[in-house]
Amino acid sequence: MTILEFTPIVFLISIVAGFLGALTGLGGGVIVTPALTLLLGVDLRYAIGASLVSVIATSSGAAAAYVREGYSNVRIGMFLEVATTLGALAGAYLSARVPTSALAVIFGLVLLHSAWQSTRKPPADQRGDGEDRLAHALKLPSTYPTAEGPTHYDVRHVKTGFGLMFGAGTLSGLLGIGSGALKVIAMDRAMRIPFKVSTTTSNFMIGVTAAASAGIYLSRGYIDPGLAMPVMLGVLAGSLLGARLLAGARTDVLRWVFAGVVALMAVEMIWSGFGKKV
């Protein structure tokens, strides 16, 4: 295949990945990497490098819209970024030492989890009792806009959330994904932050986390300009389109279809990991 044939195909795949990623809240990276490796036979390391830069693009591109809504919490984001960026460095170092077959298996497992996660409805905001002194020392509690006006929220289990965020950062650096699903779990389930605040703050954090490992991938020669160009432009275009078109649309059926596709890719990734010689 010549580059003139290859590039438009990658571009189209990336648009679809970005579109579906925005629609389901999973991000494009988790879809574009398996699609490139399974459909086009791209080496996993090239795919991860290209996907990582597209993750920065979508996170930063969508941020302006989220900020306008006034949900994200810059203090929570910055504090947890200490954990995610350190995790991302650890993940990027690990990625050079883990064989690609093992990477494929880990990626498949993360995909399976994402598929399961994407079929679940956003949980109702939970309120726990008891104060977290660390949260107050760090000035994490804040207010967010609701139908009844600005509403106060507390933040709990800061240490647990911080630990989970290190894990999310490691996966991001290892697999070149945003690992937004894990970040939301840490903030929403563990720290009991309202769902809207969790998702928007997580989106804010994804770009910073990915930037921590992107420099390492670049200097290691994993980021190929010919591949990263259509992936980054495609995922960015697709995600902006997805965010605009489907802001209030019903996406229940699409979510199930999407979960099925992702699960299928997960199984194929794991299969290819075991099929390769270590």
Binding site: L218, S219, L236
Partner: protein
């Protein structure tokens, strides 16, 4: 400066960075397709990129000589720099607010990011 105002400026900063990066990547991509479009796409086996596409000075000098690969890498570098600029801006804003705790927190994040970008890795 209030937190809301800080976040608004951060949002604009991020969007501008991404659009600039996308424009540079697109320009480099057009040049690359015209120049090398007829060649075979070879991504099935991994070869680390040449040194000139891996370091900041290499990319800068390559882009200055209109090597299309280097122009695309330059756009990707702008993209990587965007969230880093965002953190640097937050550091200034927290300093203006005299929020010592968050000056420290933000400095740590910035140090980690700069280490990832500038420290030599193999």
């Amino acid at each position: 400066m209030t937190d809301q105002r800080m976040e608004k400026i951060i949002g604009i900063l991020l969007r501008t960075g991404v659009m600039l990066a996308a424009a540079v990547v697109f320009a480099g991509g057009v040049g690359y397709l015209i120049r090398q479009g007829h060649e075979k796409a070879a991504y099935a086996t991994f070869h680390a990129e040449p040194q000139i596409l891996r370091t900041l000075p290499g990319i800068a000098s390559g882009a200055a000589h209109l090597s299309w690969h280097a122009v695309i890498q330059l756009g990707l570098l702008i993209l990587i720099a965007t969230p880093i600029a965002r953190v640097a801006f937050a550091l200034v804003a927290f300093a203006l607010e005299r929020d010592r705790v968050y000056v420290v927190v933000t400095s740590i994040v910035l140090a980690v990011l700069l280490y990832g970008l500038f420290a030599p890795h193999s």
